[in-house]
């Protein structure tokens, strides 16, 4: 992909075709950890989407206007992780001050996001593809929404899976992995879309 890739293409590709969880295996810890209840999944997904969009914006500005002109692209790992960690703190404080209801819904998930590989992953994908600032924001939004979609589907399935009479060694995590395998197989069907 290069600068001529249209925004719609990037968005659709991030949401369903190159879904972060199913094809890139990013953000699996929350995928298997949080996806036991539908309401938690929605809050987590919203928090991740918010952070991804802001992080994509900030890191692509840094990458395009600081790292590339000064030829220090190799420093992106250290800079990105610091930017994301501080952004998460800022977002947490801002939400706490402005909207207490939202804070109660998202609060406990925000600190977990710092070490969520999906957020760092999407900023690195943006950098590897040389996306412009606008393209990065769209890709961040798409990535976040794709992540939320997967979390919702997974939690819906797992709520029912709890009631299933599975052999004891398959219960819980192994069964969740098998479900993820079937989901990934189903979503591979979208790969011819673009």
């Amino acid at each position: 992909m290069n600068n001529s890739t249209s925004l719609i293409t990037i968005f659709i590709s991030m949401v369903i075709i190159n879904n972060l969880i199913l094809t890139k295996f990013l953000g699996l810890c929350p995928f298997f950890g949080v996806s036991k209840k539908l309401s938690n999944a929605l809050s987590m997904g919203a928090a991740v989407t918010l952070v991804m969009v802001i992080a994509s914006l900030a890191t692509s500005i840094i990458y395009n206007y600081i790292l590339i002109p000064y030829k220090v692209e190799f420093m992106n790992i250290i800079i990105y992780i610091l930017v994301i960690a501080s952004l998460v703190q800022i977002v947490e404080l801002t939400i706490k001050r402005t909207n207490l209801i939202l804070y109660n819904a998202l609060g406990i998930y925000l600190p977990l996001i710092t070490t969520n590989c999906a957020v760092l992953g999407i900023t690195l994908i943006n950098a590897n593809n040389n996306f412009s600032v606008l393209q990065s924001v769209i890709s961040g939004l798409g990535g976040g929404l794709g992540f939320t979609l997967m979390l919702l589907i997974m939690s819906g399935i797992r709520e029912r899976l709890e009631l299933a009479d599975a052999p004891s060694s398959m219960r819980g995590l192994p069964a969740a992995f098998i479900v993820a395998a079937l989901l990934a197989l189903a979503f591979m069907g979208f790969s011819g879309l673009l």
Partner: protein
């Protein structure tokens, strides 16, 4: 003198074994899943990733254990992250310079070692509380346990997915029918989830892991 000399080495092995088998990061603690699934489509990539993680874990454990007395507890997490990110940067520069094919194959997952929960977890739970000597044991044990897990998953995926076993360009053996009609499902993303899920279930069934 003799006893004092033997004791630390014995404890060194205990810490090593603990990380390697008893608290194996992938199969027991279920940590570091992203690389476990993403890079295990071939044995080469899995071993490359394993070596990378051992290097970063060793470096970060040594440095963090050396500076543990001067690190203020409030800012310890940012300090840990900067130390880890520095080692990952060194690693990715070295891989890019000396083994470009592996660097290309691992892609963003090399950089994502930074957010691998295993490394930050060991820094927080072990290196920041123990001496350098035992931190090295812990890093080697956990790192090699992680590499072993990656190897098991990638071994199964490569055998089933390609019907052959190729290590660093050397074709060790190929299975007659399977290599002509490989189950390429297993080297694609869904195969990764399936193999790891079945392995977890198998280890539970064998009684190695506890049921939920």
């Amino acid at each position: 003198m003799e006893i004092e000399k033997v004791k630390p080495i014995k404890k060194f092995w205990q810490e090593f074994k603990k990380g390697f088998v008893i608290t194996n990061p992938v199969f027991v603690l279920v940590l570091g899943l992203c690389p476990t699934l993403a890079v295990t489509s071939s044995i080469d990539n899995a071993l490359g990733m394993g070596i990378g993680v051992i290097f970063v874990l060793l470096g970060s454990n040594i440095i963090i254990s050396l500076i543990r007395r001067f690190t203020p507890p409030i800012v310890r997490i940012p300090v840990f992250i900067v130390v880890i990110a520095s080692f990952v940067t060194i690693l990715s520069l070295v891989f890019e310079a000396f083994i470009p094919p592996l660097y290309e194959a691992l892609g963003i997952y090399l950089a994502l070692i930074v957010v691998n929960c295993i490394i930050l977890g060991r820094a927080e739970a072990f290196a920041s509380k123990n001496t350098v000597f035992y931190s090295i044991a812990d890093a080697l044990g956990i790192g090699m346990g992680f590499t072993l897990s990656l190897f098991i998953v990638s071994f199964l995926r490569e055998i089933l997915g390609t019907g052959k076993l190729t290590v660093f360009g050397l074709n060790l053996f190929s299975i007659p029918v399977l290599s002509q009609l490989p189950l390429s499902f297993f080297i694609m993303p869904p195969g990764a989830f399936l193999v790891l899920g079945l392995l977890l279930a198998l280890f539970r069934w064998l009684g190695v892991l506890k049921n939920e």
